[in-house]
């Protein structure tokens, strides 16, 4: 048991009677930036004493399949934007391992609160990728039911969702759903979001309430054009210490490490040991969104260096080296990814625009007289064009 674990166990024991009791003992934590890694960029499996991971060949192959498919969906979406089928797309390129590793660490009853880039987590939760494309095409603002897959709506304002996640976790506590078979929440955000007041407030609320939540920060090094140095002078995972809960830094391009670290943190949260901050150290290999031009603010050499740490290639090398997969497996995954990509592409191109009057729906739980009058007026206005066209067509004959 490490010092950190011991502190945690002590905390948990003290709080056996009331999971909402405030934390009193400060967490002990190393001050050096240790990067937890279980799979090197070269595809070599390494062990970490705090994060033993027993994982079958089939499970590693399943992770590889996830990684390849979500990258393919991302490529398709970028292409669809270039073809004018999407208004914009926020690429996850380079962050697949952070998202698949953490996403596969969740239980079905856990709740995830994403940003607008968690396409890999959405995949893990079983959300149809087309729902994501709806948003970026401008057909909806998301529009999925968060309870259907325990995957909340995408949140575009930076950091807002960390407070929603924390409040949800406080609800879990009030439901008595902490402890054996408990539930927990994971809140996603990026390095830029750590400068937001809401994220810092979420840390405070989670800490003083000992809420069952994991804060999963994908530090992709860039907030649009601003490098990490513009957001922080301390490693982000160390921020947790000041708020009174543990923080860890994991190799965000290592799907196995992300899986193991998130599993442990989620389990601690479910058991009533409170929040954890995970900093997944990764890299945004593409642009911030399709409207962005990263060549204006960063050197291509940096991207080239990170390409050597690619999150997918290392898993492939590991599977090949350890003979846990036949070459035919990789062909099958490629074929499946291509099929998913094809389906997504065709369905996106065929996606109809919503009915104009639908913009009046769901403003409140019931229409007000004003909304109903505006809808009726708008519908009559639209109909007047149809009538005019009919008259014009009649005149022409």
């Amino acid at each position: 048991m490490t010092v950190k674990d011991a502190g945690r166990a002590a905390r948990a024991g003290k709080r056996a009677t009331d999971s909402r009791a405030p934390a009193r003992e400060p967490e002990r934590q190393a001050d050096h930036a240790e990067l937890i890694q279980l799979l090197t960029p070269e595809g070599e499996r390494v062990e970490h004493p705090d994060y033993p991971l027993e994982i079958s060949a089939a499970e590693v192959r399943a992770l590889y399949r996830d990684l390849v498919i979500v990258r393919r969906i991302d490529f398709e979406a970028i292409a669809l934007q270039r073809q004018g089928e999407l208004g914009i797309w926020a690429s996850l390129l380079g962050q697949e391992a952070a998202q698949i590793g953490s996403g596969r660490a969740l239980n079905p009853r856990d709740m995830a609160f994403p940003t607008y880039r968690e396409h890999g987590v959405a995949w893990c939760r079983g959300l149809d990728p087309l729902k994501l494309l709806e948003l970026f095409r401008g057909v909806s603002h998301g529009g999925w039911d968060p309870t259907a897959h325990n995957f909340h709506l995408y949140t575009i304002v930076i950091g807002s969702q960390t407070l929603h996640a924390t409040g949800y976790a406080m609800g879990i506590q009030r439901d008595g759903a902490v402890g054996d078979g408990g539930e927990a929440v994971i809140a996603y955000f990026g390095d830029g979001a750590t400068s937001q007041g809401d994220v810092n407030e979420a840390f405070i609320w989670a800490s003083v309430n000992n809420a069952p939540i994991v804060f999963f920060c994908q530090n992709n090094q860039w907030a649009i054009s601003e490098p990490l140095e513009r957001q922080t002078r301390t490693p982000l995972y160390l921020r947790a210490k000041g708020f009174g809960f543990p923080g860890v830094r994991v190799d965000g391009n290592d799907v196995l490490a992300c899986l193991a670290v998130t599993r442990k943190a989620m389990q601690a949260a479910r058991e009533g040991q409170g929040p954890t901050l995970i900093e997944a150290f990764t890299y945004r290999m593409g642009a911030h969104t399709t409207t962005d031009d990263p060549t204006r603010y960063r050197l291509s050499a940096e991207l080239e260096a990170w390409k050597l740490k690619d999150p997918i290639e290392r898993v492939k090398q590991y599977l090949i080296r350890t003979e846990q997969a036949e070459m035919s497996f990789f062909d099958e995954v490629e074929a499946e990814a291509a099929a998913v990509g094809s389906r997504v592409r065709t369905a996106c191109q065929q996606m109809p625009d919503p009915q104009p009057v639908s913009m009046f729906d769901n403003v409140l739980t019931a229409d007000t007289a004003q909304l109903a009058a505006e809808r009726d007026g708008f519908a009559a206005y639209l109909d007047s064009f149809v009538a005019d066209e009919a008259v014009a067509a009649g005149d022409g004959r």
Partner: protein
């Protein structure tokens, strides 16, 4: 019937709301042991426990943001923002998240959250403690905005707000917290006027006087004074600012032909401007005079030694009534 202050009526209403629904929560700064700085939540934590009456950290965005999360989990938070001028750290969570999340989800989620805001001036407070920001929220689709003007409405409307499945901004007239009136705490809510309906407080034939919150009492007093001058004022407590009960407003203005809107908030871009536009559009041929507005000047809230000059009072209301007759 019981005689209650407006503050106490809210307290009794909140107690009823907590009793009526086990998912109802109260959260805010100092709402627990202290019972809130105006004692509106006095004794509730003692009776309902710390898990349901929550003293939060001192950060307004956090209060509303976590309330949204609790609502997503099935809870019904009733939040207190300690003073009007402190709502702005939460403005983003209210406007960008709370007001839009149901729409964003195409109706999949509901957010039954009440945000109580003591508002308005007249208590000699320091800066940021006397403001009237209601128009900012009435301008935001996805929110209901209401204000109570007397203890009886305070008692019923806070319960109606708590049982609404929509987000409700609940503006409480802080200088009227100590006003007393008879309140029926025995009868249920069934007979109560719905929260989104205006109430005609005094029938009149010459001028329609529209008001809400702290200006309700002032307008009733103005009507009594005007009656002495032979003028008959119809006083309407709007109660709901979003949506507006335009049916009641238009019916009155069509009868009187004159309309004066009174609020403490800055006149420019305020509720009065919206009401004036709608009345002009819908009651144009009934109007004997333009709709007039009485409210605060286009300045920040002044130091409290000047607030009696800044806030609308009986004389400024009667002056507007006289001007309305001048057309």
């Amino acid at each position: 019937m019981t005689t209650l202050t407006l503050s106490r009526a809210l307290n009794e209403g909140l107690r009823k709301a907590l009793e009526a629904n086990a998912k109802a929560l109260i959260m805010g700064e100092d709402v627990g042991k202290l019972g809130g700085v105006f004692r509106v939540t006095d004794g509730l934590q003692k009776d309902f426990g710390e898990a349901r009456v929550i003293d939060t950290p001192l950060a307004e965005s956090g209060i509303i943001g976590t309330a949204i999360g609790l609502a997503l989990r099935g809870y019904r938070p009733i939040c207190e923002i300690q003073f009007d001028g402190f709502i702005f750290p939460a403005f983003d969570q209210i406007v960008s998240q709370l007001a839009k999340m149901r729409y964003r989800s195409r109706g999949a989620v509901k957010l039954p959250i009440v945000i109580r805001v003591p508002f308005g001036g007249g208590i000699g407070a320091v800066e940021h403690h006397s403001e009237s920001p209601e128009a900012l929220f009435a301008h935001t689709p996805g929110l209901r905005v209401v204000s109570c003007g007397d203890p009886a409405d305070a008692y019923t409307m806070i319960q109606q707000a708590a049982s609404s499945d929509d987000p409700v901004l609940f503006f409480e007239p802080k200088r009227r917290y100590w006003d007393k009136a008879e309140v029926d705490t025995e009868g249920g809510l069934a007979a109560a006027l719905p929260m989104d309906k205006a109430r005609v407080l005094a029938d009149g034939t010459d001028v329609t006087l529209l008001c809400y919150g702290p200006m309700v009492r002032t307008c009733v007093e103005a009507a009594v004074a005007a009656a002495g001058d032979g003028k008959s004022l119809e006083v309407i407590d709007l109660r709901s600012l979003a949506p507006l009960d335009t049916e009641t407003i238009f019916a009155s203005v069509r009868k009187t032909g004159r309309c004066v809107v009174v609020h403490e908030a800055v006149v420019t871009g305020g509720l009065g401007a919206e009401i004036a536009a709608q009345v002009t559009q819908e009651c144009f041929y009934s109007l004997e005079a333009p709709v007039l507005r009485v409210g605060a000047y286009s300045t920040p809230y002044p130091p409290s030694r000047l607030e009696d000059h800044y806030l609308p009072d009986l004389d400024r209301i009667l002056d507007a009534v006289d001007r309305s007759f001048g057309y």
